[in-house]
Symmetry: C2
Subunit: 273 residues, 2 copies
């Protein structure tokens, strides 16, 4: 069984002239497959199509991607599905050839098997020195330009499961692979992503479910001291669901009540054991 489809064909290679390779000129989605089916498919597709429109890349139909995801997922109990969409193969230069056609890759990776106690007992995190840059033209989009996240991830100390990234004004934007939430005076707060960061699918779900839980949830600017003075801190993404943060550097946090309520409210949407 192949673990990748490239424009529908079972292959593991792409052209060296693909703009995804040449310029990171594309975007991606990563999602959980459970018992052959992708979780939160609709939300992932919505973000992919929205991001493709932002970058001016013609997206394939949702049904085509769904067929390919199901083809790879058939018989699979639990795995990670990644879709990459690029502006395609082209000659050299930032202006693409007029005849360039988008490249879509759909691939399957082993489930990362994060220990369950990260979800139940929480994790330690740290602030990274590597900044996250600001650009409204690309903010929110899960594009392929991820060197900042790679450099930040490389800073992680051994006992830390995630690094928090700040912009140059000291506003905390996100973890390298997660979105950040804090609870402060019973309000649920998450950073504004209009200038940096990725609008996580799980972040969107948490914000929606928070309303159903009658929580006062707000998107706003958050700085380091807001995080360090928070009552509760947690991280989200499509694969991990929600990890409570129990320590950031020397500051400890409780396993909070609101964190646990949110975790229970999204349990249908991630691949819990």
């Amino acid at each position: 069984m192949s673990t990748a489809l490239i424009n529908g064909a079972p292959r593991e290679n792409i052209s060296v002239h693909d703009r995804g390779f040449q310029y990171g000129d594309g975007l991606f989605e990563t999602m959980a497959i459970v018992n052959g089916a992708p979780l939160m498919w609709g939300r992932h597709m919505q973000r992919l199509l929205h991001g493709a429109a932002r970058l001016g890349i013609h997206a394939p139909s949702e049904s085509l991607l769904r067929d390919e995801a199901e083809q790879l997922g058939r018989g699979v109990e639990r795995a990670v599905l990644k879709i990459i969409l690029t502006r395609g193969v082209s000659g050299r230069g930032y202006a693409p050839d007029k005849q360039a056609q988008p490249t879509r890759t759909v691939s399957l990776s082993p489930w990362p098997d994060y220990p369950a106690e990260r979800r139940t007992h929480g994790v330690a995190a740290q602030f990274c020195r590597t900044m996250i840059s600001r650009n409204p033209a690309t903010a929110g989009v899960k594009h392929l330009n991820r060197i900042e996240q790679v450099l930040a991830r490389a800073e992680l100390e051994q006992d830390c499961r995630e690094g928090l990234m700040c912009n140059e004004f000291g506003q905390v934007i996100a973890g390298t692979m997660t979105n950040l939430f804090i609870v402060s005076r019973d309000r649920l707060l998450t950073p504004d992503l209009s200038h940096s960061g990725v609008e996580g699918v799980m972040r969107g779900l948490v914000l929606e479910r928070a309303v159903k839980l009658s929580l006062d949830a707000r998107v706003m600017d958050i700085n380091k001291s807001d995080v360090l003075q928070a009552d509760e801190v947690f991280l989200t993404n499509s694969l991990i669901g929600l990890w409570p943060v129990r320590r950031i550097e020397t500051k400890e946090f409780p396993l909070g009540r609101i964190t646990q309520r949110v975790q229970e409210a999204i349990v249908d949407a991630y691949a819990a054991d």
Copy 2:
């Protein structure tokens, strides 16, 4: 004859799992080949090795790259040589596999054949709406995260040969594929790149040769009005050499005396007709 070598082998494909494709996790060099030999090889290698060290990617030896460049360039009158170095093939996630080995690709593309009058008579340029972001961790490096340049390039009006990109503070940083110089009161000025942009090989040469010409050359912050009020404006890169800018939007510029002196001083370093 193959036009690409991937880790030394004549191939045109890379693994879909290469981190260059997955995250833009790598860097590149683009240079002119004239009569089989790369121009400004030493300067390109210096930047590549410095950039690789900045990103923590192990670089191959210069002699290995030189052999591969000459192998592709053999018998070629004029062409573009591009070297891409990535962190290599790895499993999913921002932390690379410990055993990941860098991927190097060396490829040849046709010479772009820019009309000679761009160099002799100059070009029109415009300011782009797409901002260039700021991050000291990646500034100066010719890395593979180029979506901003792609989006800015797509803005170009038909008669414009280059788009100038500003950061969020309105400082002008560079063209999408060129470095910017202005002449103001007999001083030669070029933007500071410690927070954004690529330290062009030709920019470095121009700054060096300016000293030999006894020009007062300075690296500093430059804003839009500095550019529009300049006496002369020009653009540089390794392939074009130097293009005088004759018009930015409605503002016209002369074909300046200092611009022409600089152009003559670098004529050995680019592939002029």
